[in-house]
Amino acid sequence: MPEAVSLGRRLGSPAARARCAIRAASLLIWLGFAVACNSTSDAKAIASQLAATATALSNYYTALHTEVVNTDQLNDLEQGVTGLPYDAQVRASIMDTAVEIQKRADMANDISTLAASLTQLTTSTGAADASTAAGKLASSAASIKPLAQMLPASVTAGLAPAAQEIATAIQNHKIREAAQHIAAFLDNFIKLYAAEESACKTINDQYVGISGTLSLWFVANGQTDPAGYSSALAKLALAPYGLTAKIDAATQTKIATTQQLFIGQKSGDLIAAHTAASKAMEDALADIAARAADVVEAKPLPGGVAPPSLTTVNQWAATISAK
């Protein structure tokens, strides 16, 4: 019996043969990706690192978005308590910025989805899913407009085509090309991120500034709860000994005088936390971009070198998002 006929009989129905063909093609894609990465474990490690980095990036931008949206509400609050007018034009600028930050969070999510799909290439829908994810990334990247900085137009303009090239290359099972375009995308993105760091810093600074200013107003006007604040502070001293605070009004007032110092210190901490998170994010992006470039050049990945920690980024984002 000819081999082809035997194989066809063993496969059974046309649908089964189609599924087999898809699996075979997907396997070839995965093998191609693995070859580009020198080994399957390298491929999975890179894709996982990219997914984790992009998730942290999404958390970072989501927290920043929260700060901008909260700033809008804080301006309303400021208008209410101090009478400082909050005009529609400024509100529109703030909401435009919020939209632009949200686009970056969405794009980071799309990078994460693409990276996760690269680890699933051997499934029957793996290649199609990865191609779709890359196409979605191209779409979200196309909507990005740079924040306050000067960038060569080629950087933002290069994001969407690079993502589209990733989709096309995966569709055509040209995995080394896909890896090249992923590296090109990351290279462009890291330039965008670095150029926008100052804009992101100013967004955080003004959020901390306006929330701190309003907090001081509440303290100065006796509009905070001295019992809650003094109890929380006293707990620091008493909790190790299993004791519970019961503070009289006079002592509450004394302790409350430290609230202004606390606000000043906390404002400094929030600014420092964002600076650290921003730097950690930049380091993580630089690392994954370098590893992606190594894949393209078929260089061996550094064994035993852990990628930069994303804990600082995720912790800062959780702090802001929890507010």
Binding site: N75, T82, G83, L84, P85, D87, Q89, V90, S93, I94, D96, T97, E100, K145, P146, L147, A148, Q149, M150, L151, S198, A199, K201, T202, I203, D205, Q206, G209, I210, G212, T213, L216, W217, A220
Partner: protein, 108 residues
């Protein structure tokens, strides 16, 4: 941080943070004038956050330098709090610089 945006941010944040303290020593008219300046400073700031500057434009460089100096003078004046009318004049000059600089922003 980008110098032009940083100077505009500092102008707005300083005024916003000092608003309550400055208001204490103001007449009602002065308080209205002060609030108008804070609103203008905030407007200048937010009109730049989502935009870009030509950092190499000599006019941007010059205005940024003038605004940074005005911000510093304003900090000193606010700390000394000698003459509220004089301080308001300095505030107006600094915010005018911030608005002029903000008007040089280009669409992204």
């Amino acid at each position: 941080m980008q110098d032009a945006l940083a100077a505009i941010e500092q102008n707005y944040m300083n005024l916003n943070q000092q608003l309550a303290m400055l208001s204490v020593n103001c007449t009602p008219d002065q308080k209205t004038a002060l609030m108008n300046q804070v609103v203008a400073a905030r407007s200048a700031y937010w009109s730049c956050v989502n935009k870009a500057f030509h950092d190499d434009d000599p006019q941007v460089v010059s205005l940024t330098s003038q605004l940074s100096a005005a911000n510093q003078q304003l900090c000193n004046a606010v700390q000394q709090m000698g003459d509220i009318a004089g301080t308001l004049t300095q505030i107006t000059q600094a915010v005018t610089l911030a608005s002029s600089l903000a008007s040089m922003v280009i669409s992204a």
